[in-house]
Symmetry: C2
Subunit: 450 residues, 2 copies
C-alpha cells in the first residue's frame, strides 16, 4: 500500500520526525529510505569513539531495527533514492523500483565539502559523515604516523585529539585566517589554536591545500608551496546541504545553497510552495533571527528541532517554524567551544556595526582548585546582544544556552547584567563572567552612542 509519508533520509531530521508521528499517530504509514546501511546512530559521537572516550561505534547506535518495527516504521536501509517525480508523486530507487507517496520529505542531510584539488581520491583520504566513515577512519589511525586535517571547523577539530592522543603528528590546515571562522572571532580562535598547539598540533591558517600527493595512497599534502608528510588525510572543510535530488526534481535551492522552504517546511518550485512536499535538516536553509538572511545551520540540535516542528505540520498542526540563532558547542579535547548568534564578521557582512567586549575569568572561585580559564566575548549591535563566544574546560554549555535565551528575548547588555545569578565556590565565581562581560559591554554601547 502507498505510504502516507515517504522520507528520503533517515537521519537526525527524518527519523526524529518519523518517530514522533509514529508515536502520536500510529495509523500513519511511514517509509524511510536511507542510502546508508546503518541508521539511528549518533554522528556527533564519532570523534569521541575515535578518541577512545566511548568504547565502540556500536555504542552510538541508539535504536535497533526492532524498535522501528514496533513503531510500525518501514525503514529501508542501504537503499538510495535516485529520482523524484513530483507530478507522479513517486520516488525512484536505485535499481529502478518506484514508490508512490502521499507526502514526501527531503531529509537528505549534508555532504562534506571536498575542495577540487588533485589527489582527493587517493587511498588514505578520509571524511567523517557516516558510521562507515567512522569505522574506516578508526582502522586508518592504527599505525598512522602523520595526519593532515583539511579544515579547521568543529568536525576536524573534535577529531584532532584522537590523532594527537595516539602520538600521530597532526597538521590542521584552515583556508581562512583563523580556526572555526563561522563560530569564532580571530581573538577568540587564538585560545583554541594555543590549546591545540599545546596538544602538539601544527596549525596553518590563511592557506588552502594545493594538492594531496601520493602513488595510490596518500603520502603528503601541499599547502602554500610547502609539502607536509601525511599517511592520513581527514577532509573536514565543512559540509554542504545535500540538495542533488531536490535540484534534479526542479525544487528551488536558496541563496545559501540549501533547499528553500517556507515556515511550514514546504519546498518551493519557481518560488511557489508545494503542498505535500517538505524538507528539513541539514539539507535546507533557514532564516537567521538577527539578520533576517538565509543561512545553512548544519547542526544536530537544529535538525532535531526542525523535525519536531515538521512532525506537527505532517500531523496537521500548523505550528510555524521561525528564524534561528544556531547555538552550538564543540568539544575539542578538554576544551569546550561555544557560540551563538553573529560573529564580528557576520555582523559586518550584514551591515551591523558590532560593539564587543571580551572577558577572561575563572569557572570557579579563584581559591577553589581545579577550575579552568573561561574566555567570553559578547557582541552587541550597539543596542542589543547579537552574539556570544565562550571557551573553557567547563561552564560553557549552560552559559551558551543562557545567552541564547538572552539574545532570543532581544535583551540589552545592561538588562542582562542586571539579572540575578547563582553562585557556589566549586561551580562559579561570585560575579558570573556573563554578568561582568554584559556590564562592560553596556558601557561600551553607551560610549559608542555619545
Amino acid at each position: 500500500m502507498r505510504p502516507d509519508i515517504v522520507f528520503i533520509g533517515a537521519g537526525g531530521a527524518g527519523l526524529t520526525a518519523a518517530f514522533i508521528i509514529a508515536r502520536k499517530r500510529p495509523e500513519t504509514r511511514i517509509t524511510l529510505f536511507s542510502r546508508d546501511p546503518v541508521v539511528a546512530y549518533s554522528q556527533c559521537g564519532m570523534p569521541f569513539v575515535l578518541d577512545n572516550k566511548i568504547e565502540s561505534f556500536d555504542r552510538l547506535i541508539l535504536y535497533t531495527p526492532e524498535v522501528f518495527k514496533d513503531l510500525g516504521l518501514d525503514v529501508r536501509t542501504g537503499v538510495a533514492v535516485t529520482g523524484v517525480d513530483l507530478d507522479a508523486r513517486a520516488v525512484t530507487l536505485e535499481g529502478g523500483e518506484t514508490v508512490e507517496y502521499g507526502k514526501l520529505v527531503f531529509s537528505t542531510g549534508s555532504i562534506p565539502f571536498i575542495p577540487s584539488v588533485p589527489g582527493v581520491g587517493l587511498r588514505g583520504v578520509h571524511r567523517l559523515l557516516t558510521l562507515e566513515d567512522g569505522r574506516s577512519l578508526a582502522r586508518a589511525v592504527e599505525g598512522a604516523k602523520s595526519a593532515v586535517i583539511i579544515g579547521g571547523g568543529p568536525i576536524g577539530l573534535e577529531t584532532a585529539p584522537a590523532f594527537l592522543d595516539r602520538g600521530i603528528e597532526v597538521t590542521i590546515v584552515e583556508r581562512m585566517p583563523h580556526l572555526m571562522p563561522s563560530a569564532l572571532d580571530p581573538d577568540m580562535a587564538v585560545f583554541l589554536e594555543d590549546y591545540l598547539k599545546e596538544m602538539g598540533a601544527t596549525i596553518i591558517t590563511g592557506k588552502g591545500v594545493e594538492s594531496i600527493n601520493g602513488a595510490g595512497k596518500v603520502e603528503s599534502v601541499t599547502v602554500g608551496g610547502e609539502t607536509i608528510k601525511a599517511d592520513l588525510v581527514l577532509m573536514a572543510a565543512g559540509v554542504r546541504p545535500n540538495v542533488e535530488l531536490a535540484k534534479k526534481a526542479g525544487i528551488d535551492i536558496g541563496p545559501a545553497g540549501g533547499i528553500d522552504v517556507d515556515e511550514r517546511f514546504r519546498v518551493k518550485k519557481n518560488g511557489r510552495a508545494l503542498d505535500d512536499v517538505y524538507a528539513a535538516g541539514d539539507c535546507i536553509e533557514e532564516v537567521n533571527a538577527i539578520t533576517g538572511r538565509k543561512v545553512v545551520c548544519a547542526i544536530g540540535t537544529v535538525a532535531n528541532r526542525q523535525a519536531r516542528f515538521l512532525a506537527e505540520q505532517l500531523m496537521g498542526n500548523d505550528v510555524p517554524y521561525g528564524p534561528v540563532l544556531c547555538p552550538a558547542i564543540a568539544v575539542v579535547g578538554d576544551l569546550h567551544v561555544g557560540s551563538v548568534g553573529l560573529t564580528t564578521m557576520a555582523c559586518e557582512a550584514a551591515g551591523i556595526k558590532p560593539v564587543s567586549f571580551k572577558a577572561r575569568s575563572n569557572t570557579r572561585a579563584r581559591y577553589y582548585p581545579g577550575g579552568s580559564q573561561l574566555n567570553i566575548k559578547l557582541i552587541a549591535d550597539g543596542e542589543r546582544i547579537v552574539g556570544a563566544q565562550l571557551m573553557g574546560k567547563e561552564g560553557v554549555h549552560g552559559r551558551v544556552n543562557q545567552l541564547t535565551l538572552a539574545i532570543h528575548k532581544k535583551m540589552t547588555p545592561s538588562e542582562l547584567a542586571d539579572v540575578e545569578t547563582c553562585y557556589a565556590p566549586p561551580v562559579s565565581p561570585m560575579i558570573d563572567p556573563i554578568t561582568y562581560a554584559a556590564e562592560m559591554l553596556a558601557l561600551r554601547c553607551k560610549k559608542g552612542k555619545r
Copy 2:
C-alpha cells in the same frame, strides 16, 4: 575628620560597596567597622576547607589590609558598634568612643539561628559563620567520632561531607519534613537525602532537637525522645537578619524579620524613609519578584548585587533596586543542588496554584561515559514559569541561571521549550532536559486550563 560614609559591617555587602565607591570616587572618606577580626574572606568557601578541597582557611582571604590602605579605606577590624544615634548622626563603639558619619550603612549580615533548647552553650557546639568559627570547627573535627548537624539547610549540608569523609558518624536533624525546605520540594529533596544516606549519613526529618546533653562538653543530642551520641554539634538551623543594632536605634523591621528598606536601600523609621541611612546584605528583607511579598534572601550573590546597586545610590546615581528571584546553588559533596523562584510550598503560601513537571535525564549523551543523573522540577502558576529545582553532579549551575533568565522574562513553559539550545555528546543530551521539562509542563498547564 568625619567620614563621609560609615559601614557597620565589612562583609559581602559592606566591603563590596565600599570597594566600588573607593575605586570610582577615591575622594570619599569611608570607614568600615567589623566586629570580626578578619574581613574580606569568603564565608562560602569554608565548608570546602573543612572538607580539604581547599588547602587552608588563609586561601579564603581575598584581600589583605594593604589593599584597603591602597584604596584609602579605613577598615577597623575587631571593633563592634554598640549603638547608633540617628539624631546625632554618630555610632558608638565598644569602649564608648563615638564616630560621626555623613551617611550610615547597616551591613551587619546575619546570625545563625540558635533554637532555644537546653545545652546550646556546651563546649563542642559549633556554628559556621565567621572565619574563627571555621577554624574552631576544623580543630574540633580532628578526633571527633560522631556529629549531629542541626538543620538541613545549605550550610549544614555543604559541611556534612567534611565530617563523613573523615569517617565521623553523622546525623542530620531537620525540623521540617524534608531537607532544604526553603529551596526544594519533598519529591526533589529525596534525591539529596538518598545521596547523603549513600555517603553514610543518618537523616532525621520532621523532628526538632529537644536538648543537647553533656557535662561541660557535648555528649549527645536528644531528638524525638531518642538520644544520639555526639561529640560535635553543628548548629545550622538557618540564619536570621542581624538587626539588633537597627532595632535599638528605632529603625523599622519588616514582616520577614529584616531591616525594611526602600528601593534605594534607605532604612525607615515609623514607615518613613530616612535620608542618609541605608542597609544592605543579609540584614535586610526585600521583595520577591513573583509574589510581591517580603522575603529574606541571605545569600552572597544577593548581598553582592545589592552592594553594587547601593554603591550607585551612595555615589548619587539613582538606580533603583528591584524585586528578586534568589537563584541559589549548594554543593553537597559531588552533588549540585540548584533552585530559583518559588517552591510548591511557597506557591501555596502565596495563593498560587502550582502546576509542575519533574524530569529525570542525563547530563551527557546516554552513550557518553561519566555523566550524572540530572533531576529537574519546573513549576508554573498555570501560565508562567515561577520556580525551578535542579540536582546533578554537573550541568546545574548554568541551567539555574538560564531558568532565572526565563522566569525574569516571565516566560511561559511553551515559550521556553521553543528556545534553541546547544549540544555536544560530552556536555548534554541532544534535547536539553530543560526543553523537555518545559514542553511537558506546557502540556500540563494546557490540560489544567480545560
